[in-house]
């Protein structure tokens, strides 16, 4: 890819791997800004529905606390397992175990898709219940934060599907396992962001 691949790099580390880490470092500030926004606006919504408290509108309409902890816990577990799966898939690629690679890469993708599906369900459910981006500050900051995380998951799924097709064609060999490692690093990062979002948004009252 890079001309650098023709000769040894200064640090001895692969340039692409360094680039993906640099990118991940940069993304930390992206999510930090979104999380800050969410936290700064916590409890500042003028009207409901609220995440953890019930609310009755002046017109007398009653809203239960809107967050669905059970559903999201399942999603969280899926994302965690997908991290485990992708690292096993990478292990398979590095050791030329095709079955292991394809099985676990496939499982990773399934988990990712289910997570996105969970989020789509959650979002539609909220809109149904009367919480939209425009409703209040909670809605705005919640949908933006989790929505951008979901976009990242979707990008990751597309990347992993690309890797899966390459793997099917036998192009994810031990020498080229780095290609998968890059995707896996990004995927883990997306998981790690959710590890922060899950307690901050869903579990802290």
């Amino acid at each position: 890819m890079a001309p650098a691949a023709d000769h040894a790099t200064t640090t001895g580390l692969d340039s692409r791997k360094m680039a993906i880490w640099t990118f991940i470092g940069s993304e930390c500030l992206f999510f930090a800004s979104l999380i800050s926004t969410y936290l700064v606006y916590r409890g500042k919504s003028l009207v409901g529905p609220f995440p953890h408290e019930a609310w009755t509108s002046p017109a007398g309409q009653h809203f239960e606390p809107i967050l669905e902890i059970k559903l999201v816990t399942v999603g969280t577990a899926l994302l965690l397992f997908s991290s485990l799966f992708v690292v096993i898939a990478l292990n398979g690629a590095q050791r030329n175990r095709r079955g292991q690679l394809l099985t676990f890469l496939g499982l990773t993708i399934m988990c990712g898709i289910f997570f996105v599906g969970m989020q789509v369900y959650e979002f539609t459910h909220f809109v149904h219940e009367g919480l939209k981006l425009q409703t209040n500050l909670f809605g705005a900051s919640f949908f933006t934060l989790t929505g951008f995380h979901g976009t990242h998951v979707t990008m990751g799924v597309i990347w992993l599907i690309t890797m899966f097709i390459l793997a099917l064609r036998g192009k994810v060999t031990p020498e080229k396992a780095l290609n998968l490692e890059l995707a896996a690093l990004y995927w883990h990062f997306v998981d790690v962001v959710w590890i922060v979002i899950f307690p901050v948004v869903y579990l802290m009252k």
Binding site: S26, L29, F30, S33, Y41, Q134
Partner: protein, 611 residues
């Protein structure tokens, strides 16, 4: 792979594709050509920003003037600031990152040549998009800082703010992509023996700049996303009536904004630190102190942002903390200034144009730093904020600092980039006109600011004592115009003249001067090995004097990355996604789908194309 290489004017023609003509520029992945593209584009934007400034100065030349309507004034001052920061100074620095970093570290290209091309095309499209507001009579008009809730649908119903926020969003992507690229390039592509503490200072400062870009730009990206959601989808992040807080914008903007001012000045620090030793015939004084003060400035730069917000009533504790951290940052800045002076001290000064501009830089930047420390004190700032005093401050650091240093860099590296020496006499004329014009334009702003003249206002009434200052300022602005016309004339004359630049016209200390001017596509026929901080001086010492003029070689067998147009396609995709978002009400989701398809096409073709 190159099998034949033909000498053609000053560029090698490789087997894979012609190296001349428009198509070769569109598909180029050569860091030097991309550097020139950055430079040329940024200079055009710089001229546009300059013309905008002249129009503003004409308007302010006398009281109660009606040369510009208030609305036009707002558009021009907004576009002036935004252009100079994002479309002139940053990309002019990027020109030097592109052209010089690989040469200075002894590399054949950047780590990701096609990503580099992508950055340029995204930058170009972002710049054009930002300016396209003029075509609709709806250029951005809310100031370069875009304070909420002036930017809300309620107060800015037109397209003006849309052009601004989407333009900046696109430009941010260009900066981030380039940030990753140069960060990795500096870490991973250094010539053998070039340890971190042997890197030229320009490489160090550019490296730190990339860190700042990588950490600061995501923050404004988020701030702009929230604004986008407010404007396009009706959320209320910055709308007080729904509980939103405009201060959130200010915080996010300045968390980005203060590092941004260091993104604008650190490359210039680096340029000056390259030029001063060469023209003083002495190594850089206090190399390590320079590195660490640069790193310290960058680190502290993340902890001072609220000095732009003293007037928002943050409260005494917050004021104190940010006031102290701001004053603290003046210390490493002072260290740098002492080191530059120490570099020249006792040196045998070669009074050439690049040195003139460096001296101008040091003097002017000190003045800008001093006024900065003045409004680091909240009570003083409450008098100065939103007045022309602040305008004076940031022009002394940005024009007196960045532009002077970038000009110095242009004179210094011109022979390397184009194989021709700029005229010394015209260069010195340029310098004196610029120095005098600059001070005439901006020094009186200190006074008129302290007298209470507010910034960002399209006119002022008679009889407040502002007239004479403003007249002088306007006259100075025209002198600046003449100064840059002299520069342009110098460039035209030189370009028409003979290719007269030797490889090493200044007796340089760094690797770029060891290779022909302009360099061949592959830069170094043989990758150099570095043993010290001033590798070329050392080689010359060892061999007892000047080196023989390097010969151009065929370069056959050196693998260089192939040209590609997919980065440009991907860049078009990026811009298209944002334009489609802006036109969502008109085009509906179909537009976004098409745009995303273009983006994916570009990215996938690029990823699966052999490098």
């Amino acid at each position: 792979m190159a099998t034949t290489a033909v000498e053609h004017a000053h560029a090698d023609v490789h087997a894979h594709g012609s190296k001349t003509g428009l198509w070769s520029w569109i598909t180029t992945v050569d860091h030097k050509r991309i550097g020139i593209l950055y430079g040329a584009t940024a200079f055009v934007f710089f001229l546009m920003g300059g013309i905008e400034a002249l129009l503003l100065r004409i308007q302010l030349g006398r009281p109660d003037n009606t040369f510009l309507s208030p609305e036009m004034y707002n558009q021009l001052f907004t576009m002036h600031g935004t252009t100079m920061i994002f479309l002139a100074i940053m990309p002019l620095s990027a020109m030097f990152f592109n052209y010089m970093i690989p040469l200075l570290i002894g590399a054949r290209d950047v780590a990701f040549p096609r990503l580099n091309a992508f950055s340029y095309w995204v930058f170009l499209l972002g710049g054009l998009f930002l300016n396209s507001g003029f075509l609709f009579g709806a250029a951005p008009n809310q100031g370069w800082f875009g304070y909420a809730n002036l930017t809300s649908n309620q107060y800015s119903p037109g397209l003006n703010v849309d052009f601004w926020m989407i333009g900046l969003q696109i430009l941010g992507i260009a900066s981030l992509a380039a940030g990753v690229n140069f960060f990795v390039t500096v870490l991973n592509l250094r010539a053998p023996g070039m340890k971190l503490m042997r890197m030229p200072m320009f490489v160090w400062m550019s490296f730190i700049t990339q860190v700042l870009i990588l950490l600061a730009f995501p923050v404004i990206t988020v701030a702009l996303i929230l604004l986008m959601f407010d404007r396009f989808f009706g959320s209320h992040f910055y709308v007080p009536s729904a509980g939103g807080d405009p201060l959130l914008w200010q915080h996010l903007f300045w968390i980005f904004g203060h590092p941004e001012v260091y993104i604008l000045i650190l490359p210039s620090f680096g340029i000056v630190s390259e030029i001063l030793p060469v023209f003083s015939r002495k190594p850089l004084f206090g190399y390590a102190a320079m590195v660490f003060s640069g790193a310290f400035i960058a680190f502290l730069g993340f902890g001072v942002w609220s000095h732009h917000m003293f007037s928002t009533g943050m409260g005494p504790i917050a004021d104190t903390v940010f006031s102290l951290s701001t004053m603290l940052i003046a210390i490493p800045t002072g260290v740098k200034i002492f080191n530059w002076i120490g570099t020249m001290w006792g040196g045998s000064l070669q009074m050439k144009t690049p040195l003139y501009f460096c001296l101008g830089f040091i003097a002017m930047f000190i003045m800008g730093g001093l006024s900065g420390v003045m409004h680091a004190s909240p009570p003083a700032d409450l008098q100065q904020t939103d007045t022309y005093f602040v305008v004076a401050h940031f022009h002394y650091v940005l024009f007196g600092g960045s532009i002077f240093a970038l000009t110095a860099g242009a004179y210094y590296w011109w022979p390397k980039m184009f194989g021709r020496m700029l005229s010394e006499s015209l260069g010195k004329l340029h310098f004196w006109l610029m120095l005098i014009g600059f001070n005439l334009t901006f020094f009186p702003m200190h006074f008129v600011g302290l007298l209470g003249m507010p910034r960002r206002v399209y006119t002022y009434p008679k009889g407040l004592g502002f007239e004479i200052y403003n007249q002088v300022e306007t006259a100075g602005a025209f002198l600046l115009l003449i100064a840059f016309l002299v520069f342009i004339w110098n460039v035209i004359r030189t370009t028409r003249g003979p290719a007269n630049a030797p490889a090493d016209p200044w007796n340089g200390a760094t690797l770029e001067w060891a290779i022909p001017s302009p360099p061949q596509e592959f830069n170094f026929a043989e990758v150099p090995v570095v043993h010290s901080r001033d590798p070329l001086w050392e080689t010359k010492r060892e061999r007892g004097g000047q080196l023989p003029e390097p010969v151009r070689v065929s370069g056959a067998g050196i693998h260089m990355p192939h040209p590609s147009y997919w980065p440009a396609v991907a860049a078009i995709g990026v811009a298209a996604v944002f334009v489609a978002l802006m036109m969502l009400p008109k085009l509906g989701p179909a537009g976004v789908v098409v745009a995303v398809a273009i983006l994916f096409l570009g990215v996938f073709k690029w990823a699966f194309e052999p490098a």
